[in-house]
Amino acid sequence: MNKRLFTLLSLLVIASMALTACGTAATQAPAATDAPAATDAPAATDAPAAAYECTDALGCVKIAPDEPLHMAFWGVLSGADSSLGEDSKRGVEIAIDDKGGKLLGHDILLTTEDALCTPEGGATAASKLATDTSIVALVGSTCSDETVGGIAAITQAGLTTISPSNTRPALTDPNRGPDYAGYLRTAHSDAFQGKAVAEFAYNFLGVRKAATIHDGSAYAQALQQVFSDNFKELGGEIVAQEAVAKDATDMKPVLTTIAAKQPEFIYYPVFVAVGGYITAQVRDVPGLEDVKLAGSDGIFSPDFLKASGPNVEGVYLSSPDFSAFTGDYAGFLKKHEAKYGGSTLSTFHAHAYDAANIIFAALEKVAVVEADGTVYVPRQALRDAIYATKDFPGITGNLSCSPSGDCGAPVIAVYQVVNADPASWNPADPTNPNPKKVWP
């Protein structure tokens, strides 16, 4: 009986193998045709190795004909801030799709690393990416803290990263130190934005008494401080500088405290959750029924409209100037909808998209392609090429990178929300924009 069972079993095994082969043959069809190339790869690579001599100061990445071009994204992908990282990651993925998933004849492979929005998370993610010598360039990180923790490892490994969403001014300071040689960003520094909002409030709106709220994040705390300093310099008065916890939900008490100081203008450069709670609750607080409200790019997203509800109409939001956007932002949103089924999660997907495309353009410029398809990417040359980016037509504007790593177009505009329906969100629409640009 045992023998018969064995025959039965072996038959089953064979059948199941055939079946999986059936299944995989279909999925792997394109890959399968590459397989023959893979077998004679060693012979082919030996010859060009002699032909191309890598003289780059940081060495070269060699990509054999059957290997993918390896890029990585690092940023926060878990925890309460994960929508920020997920949003940027999607920007990169759409950029890859737009290239048909291929660059220089190689499939693009995107590795993602969770950096947890903390410096130690950033350090761990960066050290992992630094170990992998097949990576050519990175997009990330999302939180400035992650960059502070991880950038040394990335620069030392000869890699270059472009952050789509770090806004801490110090990261692109001219005296930022050699550890930051491999760091650039398409996001703009908080220093520009806080100043722009102060000028807008004082000159355009004509308010003289302002209050600020931040949520204890480095981003919001720095931004409201820049605003306050500039607003006072212009001659205005800061009547209250308040702060709430990042996970607070009930804003009415803090708003009541602010109401007692009778401001004409409240600036809260926070993220979507806190921003939504403040906007939704502010009109319920006696004394704040007519106060003017303004936020910044942390809440410049349809999610903010969702979170705030009808009260959001009339809120001012500072953001990069979309009229300076040259690319097809509407087209980007359509692709996003098709791929992920839903609206964008945060503000910096377009910056991530641009960051990836800057890297692609630089790669195409510096990579050496051999006749058999082997690609060499000299690292220092790639870094230099990224720094040399000039008038790059991104969807966030015409981008040029400064020697200290600022690639973002520092043209800040202030928009006003005219329709509380998140579905109507389209700041780039020529006829019927929401939010609508009001300044400058």
Partner: protein, 355 residues
């Protein structure tokens, strides 16, 4: 009794230190209050406003705290996943409410349009809690005390990230209900309809729960099981069934709290249960864990202190941005209350039993 000189000195230091802390905290509160009040930044309407906001927030804490306290009373176990049960309720209600809203049902019949999502959320939350109990807690009934705690932490992570997988990390907004817009002005203080609804709904639900626990057969069985599982079993009570119904009842309260929370604050995401969960747990301990009226009192006290504390105590002490330290007040008050009453405000009865 042989006590060495060193030991007696230590006792002295300890007692002195404890009294020092008590007096310091009390002094800080009193001085802060006096300074703030004498400065007169706020009108009395604003002070009443603080209390009203605090009560609305506290009612939600209290509803969640009920689940903690019921489970604790019966199993002596911290159900760490309870905050996430609250989140599942909010998500469930969101989808039902959105659907009802798009077909226009809510505008035609606002009362049912509110009630149906609440009921759905309660049922969903109860079902998930029963599932969690069956898989993660029941097999550990006789394990050491901390083992179910770790299992509960695991369940909490699992629920959070399963929902993140289902619905993504983005935010959902509970559809606005027109009937709840606006408010009433009573004694110069404007009170929102939503706040009234939250407090009323919480009160009704707590009353129903109290009735169930005190006067129905199941409730009596629950109290019996919480006294002693073995004796209850000997009396012919199906202990497992009672434990499951406790979980379900507590979870239903949390599910309803999830809907109330989303009605007030609109935003729904997979992480929304974490902070309210911890706060509700604090409220439960504050009131005396295992004690149902204690959970209600604890929730209200916590909500009011959080709302009024930063302006009343901290501002007078000259601390900048006091609202950032709202949670510091909450936890300091917790330690303070535990210093005076080590088993919470109403926790007399259970403290004699060893936790």
């Amino acid at each position: 009794m042989r006590t060495s000189f060193g030991e007696r000195m230590l006792d002295l230091v300890v007692t002195g230190f404890l009294w020092g802390i008590r007096i310091a905290i009390l002094l800080a509160i009193v001085i802060g209050t006096i300074v703030t009040v004498s400065k007169g930044h706020y009108t009395s309407e604003q002070w009443i406003g603080f209390v009203v906001f605090g009560v609305a927030q506290g009612a939600i804490y209290a509803l969640i705290a009920l689940g903690y306290t019921m489970v604790y009373g019966i199993l002596r176990m911290i159900n760490f996943a309870h905050g996430d049960i609250f989140m599942t309720g909010a998500f469930g209600a969101y989808f039902v409410a959105t659907w009802l809203n798009t077909i226009g049902f809510v505008d035609r019949n606002p009362f049912l349009g509110l009630l149906i999502p609440v009921l759905f959320a309660m049922i969903l939350a109860a079902a998930i809690a029963m599932l969690v109990e069956r898989i993660a807690y029941r097999p550990l009934r006789n394990a050491p005390r901390l083992v179910p705690l770790i299992s509960a932490i695991g369940a909490s992570f699992f629920l959070e990230y399963a929902f993140r997988g289902f619905f993504g990390p983005g935010k959902y907004a509970y559809p606005p209900i027109k009937a709840l817009d606006g408010g009433w002005t009573i004694f110069n203080v404007e009170i929102q309809k939503v706040q009234v609804l939250v407090v009323a709904a919480a009160a009704i639900m707590m009353a129903i729960l109290y009735f169930i626990v005190m006067y129905t057969k199941v409730g009596k069985a629950m109290r019996a099981v919480s006294e002693s599982q073995d004796t209850a079993a000997l009396m012919g009570i199906d202990v497992n069934r009672i434990i499951v119904s406790t979980f379900a009842l507590g979870a239903a309260m949390a599910g309803a709290a999830g809907v109330l929370f989303s009605l007030v604050y609109r935003q729904i995401d997979f992480f929304m249960g974490f902070t309210p969960g911890i706060k509700a747990f604090t409220a439960a301990v504050l009131g005396g864990i295992g004690n149902i009226p204690g959970a209600m009192v604890g929730g209200l006290v916590l909500g009011v202190f959080e709302s009024i504390g930063p302006s009343l105590f901290l501002e007078g002490l000259g601390i900048p941005r006091p609202y950032q330290l709202k949670d510091v007040i909450a936890y300091t008050m917790l330690v303070m209350i535990l210093l005076f009453r080590p088993s919470g405000i109403l926790g007399e009865r259970l403290s004699k039993k060893k936790a």
